[in-house]
Amino acid sequence: MSSPRVIEVKKNILAKNDRIAEENRAFLKGKGVTAINFVSSPGAGKTSLLVKTISDIGEKLNIAVIEGDQRTDLDARRIMETGVPVVQLNTGSACHLDAEMTRKALGSVDLAGVDTMFIENIGNLVCPASYDLGEKMKAVLLSVTEGDDKPAKYPKMFRVSSVMIITKIDLLPYVDFDIDRCLDYAKKINPDIQSFQLSVKSREGLDDWCRFLLSNNEK
């Protein structure tokens, strides 16, 4: 009778996802495409900011979008109206996009001439933090109608993001959101995080965001 033995593994649990993510990364680099993984709670304004960004700088920057939602193509349709190439990924019950889904989406969109690819993740501040999709950077959005302590409550997401965008700042007079406190929490978790504050409605802060995108173009 055989006796139990211990087999050493010592391998990252997400090794398979990370391997595919690296392949995606190399593929995107080869095509000269800058990929940005857009993450946030549901309703922070990811799609609205994308639509506004496309309308503002769509002529200077060729943009394509991968839209991730559990259900419906409502967001993809909003992007489609802007005229840029968009792929809708419906995950059903999965609460985050992963590298394999992203690879399939990258294979179904024409990337010729694309400068920047936005991957709009499922609205969720928890799970997407663990899944590398092959992006150049993660940009985390939070709106002033959420708590200014969001970074402290979801530290992993703020640690893995290079950029944070505080949205809906036109609503500041009506809410108790303290921007300085929010930024302070974020910097304590990720001292290198770059921050933007903007409003799609009032246009405040949009120019800085657009300048950042243009300067981050891989080409």
């Binding site: 055989s2 010592k10 391998k11 649990i13 663990s130 304590k188 001292p191």
Partner: protein, 112 residues
Amino acid sequence: MHEMSIAMSVVEMAEEYAKKHNAAKILSVTVDIGDLAGVMTDALAFCFEACARGSIAEGGAIYVNRIEALAHCPSCGIEFSPENSFIICPQCSGPCGILRGEELQVRSVEAL
């Protein structure tokens, strides 16, 4: 819950290694989870049991080694356990690097 996706990956990896070593039944899997990895032990254990059904890991145990976070300040040289995931030096308030605590790995598989 993303512990479900993580548990699925654990079962897949454990099966892969067990089969590579000609083992037919997995008795247990040991994983290292850092405190900054954002994974709850109880949720992972619950999901592992569910994901293992129908595989050679069915009925097997999962042992979780929690790894305490450790950060290092390049300015003052001190090491500390970051509280609330705030990676700033308690001495000089400077930015710090993470030495430990982000682990998410399968350490070993016990198999027959």
